[in-house]
Amino acid sequence: MNPASITRLDLVLATPEMFLLAATCVILLGDLFLRDRDRWITFVLSLLTLAGVAWITAATGFTERTVGWHGTYVADPLSTLLKIVACGAVAVAFLYGHGYLQVRRILQGEYYVLGLFALLGVMVLASANSLVTLYLGVELLALSLYALVAFNRDSGIAAEAAIKYFVLGSIASGALLYGMSIIYGVTGSLELGVISNAALQMPAGQIGLLFGLAFIVVGVAFKFGAVPFHTWVPDVYHGAPTPVTLFLAAAPKLGSFALAFRLLAEGLGAVHATGWQDMITMVAVLSIIVGNVVAIAQTNIKRMLAYSTISHVGFILLGILAGTSQGYAAALYYTITYVIMSVGGFGMIILLSRKGFEADSLEDFKGLNARSPWFAAVMLMLMFSMAGVPPFVGFWAKLAVIQAVLDIGSLWLAIVAVALSVVGAYYYLRVVKLMYFDEPTDKTALQGGGGAMRFVLSLNGLAVLLLGLFPGLLLALCARVIP
């Protein structure tokens, strides 16, 4: 590609990413000149960058599907929505994490820089229209996350988690790349649109296509953290510093959704029924079962939420495997609501923690209602929402997915899903039990997080309730951005 062939449209298409990249580099360099007590400047600049990216994305928001950069990059309403939500998720993660890192004296500018690079990866994934762009996004995101997990360099458990994540993640990336190369060999193109057309022409059960597909599904399932490629999830969630866990649980999930949607729906939609539907069905059902059942045995709340994430991922995959636009919309809706709930959940852990005390054991939530009725109520809403009890937003996400599954006639999938959400309710109820029914062992006031964090966390809890009482808007938005 020679520079002269770049059109104005191409530039407009990628403005948010270019702005983000430039701003991140500025922050990276600028941070070198800051002393530790001036680190708040990096924090504020990062938040401003996020606001700027979100604003540019919204302002350039393409209402029509527009392809640029020689077919490698696409902007459509879906990418716009994913990017804006990702900016919000990253901003909330920064906000919740700031105080935590500060009191532990591990607040480095790199936390923000790596976070912003990860966001860039998510945004590239959201806009990818070719296998290479997708892989670029995947790696940019993954490398930033590996480094973030190891962010607290003095923590052995974090280093272990990071190595585990890195090794397994590299294998998964390899599988993904291998699958992509086979798809390229079979269809003769890297561009998703061309691949889609080529796949349509092929006879059902074309062996090369299915072979490549299997590796691609492995890669996608790994990035999501779905069973049986989930073993990294509990260890990484547990080992990483809580703000990093919070980060991991939010924006990257949007990236995983984009990866799955672009690759499986847009690129390989033709082999949905004959190829990946059955594979994803197995992965989804296993995730829901393993996630919900194993979560019951956890005593560490970060591990519990990790297994809960696995089961939520199973639900997201249920929407995707339906293969209908209704199903994709349901999966997107589920992903967004999951992000809202999980940042709230990990935010609560940060709120309960203080210097030298992580509050990551379930027991640490004992008697929260006596210590802070309001934040106990926030956690109660989050837990019931994750369990899928109305009137909270998690219920509508489950409803949308189950409706999509029933729509393709899979009654048994719907029954498995609802039956296991009853199993899942048990461990969420246990958190409520600890907060409300038990007396606190530690009667001190909550110390984690400043006023800003408490305010946003309160809004976070209210959002779970309000989006549950009035789910129509977000549901309609998700349905509209899926073509």
Partner: protein
């Protein structure tokens, strides 16, 4: 009848708003909070009386109808309305809640404002269940209701409260998620969640049987029917008095209401084919659970089992109509069982609520629910003894009390269908008398059992008021049930027609 303001929305949201306000006030504002809770619950009751007065008993159609768009993507609407089935249940709800607030006035020591707030929020949600005319809205209220009840049993309950409340939640949650699948399935067939549309939706026999089974699980757990009743004795025993009262008086009625609103009109053919199942389960509940109640050592458990037996009458009365038509070949008289079921629901709400309050009165003084710890209470608490005997007799179905009317109507309807049904159902009159009167004998009568009983204080003004109001209601409904029957008649008549019409 139509008022120019949305009375049903006010009934649903006023208590919820008051409950949230109460949570914001917190325990520091207990003095104000208590009065706020009482005022809100009394205001709700007053509004529901207005609802009753303005209700037009001559029509079966939905009244006080409200409709607002809610979720476009699912075509779900915020639709409220009442007919002759739901209106009396709403009035029952608003009548019981202030009594629960008064009964808990000084008794609750742990986080009292949260206690009152939970009951107010619960009240609004329960009214929402009865008033919702959109299946999705119904489901949201139905499930949301579990949250305050979970907290009520878990925070203010007895020794094994955590076990009991988790069991309660998971049991009912499991029941209702299958109903959700059935509702979504019907939505995908008809494109609407409106209950009226779902009732009109044609369904094949196979679909009906599956949907009926899903509903059956949901409602049978709630009623509760034998053999999925095991959560109820645990929940009742461990719940605080107010929780037991609401559970017995109103939440059990949700199951019966669900049968009348969903199962019977939406899957009439499956109901007709499978009515033997419900009748068999109901008779099992009536007879077997009656014997189980006889051997209980714990007063609350005894009343809990008696509730299961009495709710067996509700399901029996609801499904006996098919047998009547089969036996007599005509639709006339088929509604009698439904009449009985409805009266039984209201009556059981009053009587079981009152009995749990009586046990609460004793428990507050002695901190024991064991029958063996009492004896001769009448010597030290004569006024209480009189109330306890009255409610016990009502529970046994003595003529002149509300308990008699419902049981009598259901047994009469069973006679029309089959002598042996009636024979088995009538056994409850003997068993019911046996376990309640034996309870009264052991607790109330006889010589003073021990020193603790000898020091008991009789009812205070607050307790006297609560039990007195309930006694008046029990007697009024028993002596003159006509107003209640008149309100329900057109709706139940229409329900019988829906039941007899095939959807195939």
């Amino acid at each position: 009848m139509q008022l120019d303001w949305p009375i049903l929305s006010v009934l649903v949201w006023l208590p919820i708003a008051a409950g949230v306000l109460l949570l914001l006030v917190g325990n520091r504002g207990l003095a104000v909070g208590r009065w706020l809770a009482l005022a809100a619950s009394l205001a709700t009751f007053a509004i529901s009386l207005l609802l009753w007065r303005e209700f037009d008993p001559s029509t079966a159609s939905m009244q006080f109808f409200e409709q607002q768009p809610w979720i476009g993507a699912f075509n779900a609407w915020y639709t409220l309305g009442v007919d002759g089935i739901s209106m009396p249940l709403i009035v029952l709800t608003t009548f019981i809640t202030p009594l629960v607030v008064i009964a808990g006035w000084t008794v609750i020591e742990k986080r009292p404002t949260q206690y009152f707030a939970a009951f107010l929020i619960l009240e609004g949600l329960m009214i929402g269940v009865f008033a919702a005319l959109d299946a999705m809205l119904f489901y949201v209220f139905w499930e949301a209701m579990l949250i305050p009840m979970f907290v009520i049993i878990g925070v203010w309950g007895g020794q094994r409260r955590v076990y009991a409340t988790v069991k309660f939640f998971l049991y009912t949650f499991l029941g209702s998620v299958l109903m959700l699948v059935a509702l979504i399935y019907m939505y995908l067939q008809g494109g609407s969640y409106s209950i009226a549309d779902l009732q009109a939706l044609p369904l094949s026999m196979r679909e009906q049987v599956l949907i009926f089974s899903a509903f059956l699980i949901a409602f049978a757990v709630k009623v509760p029917m034998w053999p999925v009743h095991t959560w109820l004795p645990d929940a009742h025993v461990e719940a605080p008095t107010g929780g037991s009262v609401i559970l017995a008086a109103i939440m059990l009625k949700m199951g019966g209401y669900g049968f009348l609103r969903f199962s019977l009109p939406m899957t009439p053919d499956a109901s007709r084919e499978l009515d033997w199942l419900i009748i068999a389960l109901s008779l099992t509940a009536v007879v077997y659970i009656g014997f189980v109640a006889l051997v209980q050592q714990d007063m609350k458990k005894l009343i809990a089992y008696s509730s299961i037996a009495h709710m067996g009458f509700v399901t029996l009365g609801a499904f006996i109509a098919f047998e009547i038509v089969r036996a007599t070949g005509q639709v006339q008289g088929a509604a009698m069982g439904l009449d009985g079921a409805m009266v039984q629901m209201i009556s059981h709400g009053l009587v079981s609520g009152a009995l749990f309050l009586c046990i609460g009165v004793l428990y507050d003084r002695m901190h024991s629910r064991q029958i063996a710890d009492y004896g001769g209470v009448i010597n030290t608490m004569p006024v209480f003894g009189a109330f306890m005997v009255l409610f016990a007799l009502a529970n046994a179905g003595l003529p002149g009390t509300s308990g008699f009317v419902g049981e009598f109507l259901v047994i009469l309807a069973a006679f029309k269908a089959n002598f042996w049904y009636a024979f088995l159902a009538a056994i409850t009159l003997i068993l019911g008398a046996a376990y309640t009167l034996w309870l009264v004998k052991r607790v109330v009568f006889g010589p003073v059992g021990n020193d603790h009983v000898a020091q008991l204080q009789d009812l205070n003004g607050r307790e006297f008021f609560v039990l007195g109001v309930l006694a008046i209601a029990v007697l009024a409904l028993g002596l003159w049930p006509a107003p209640l029957l008149d309100v329900m008649r057109p709706t139940l008549g229409q329900l019988v027609q829906q039941m007899m019409m095939t959807k195939l």
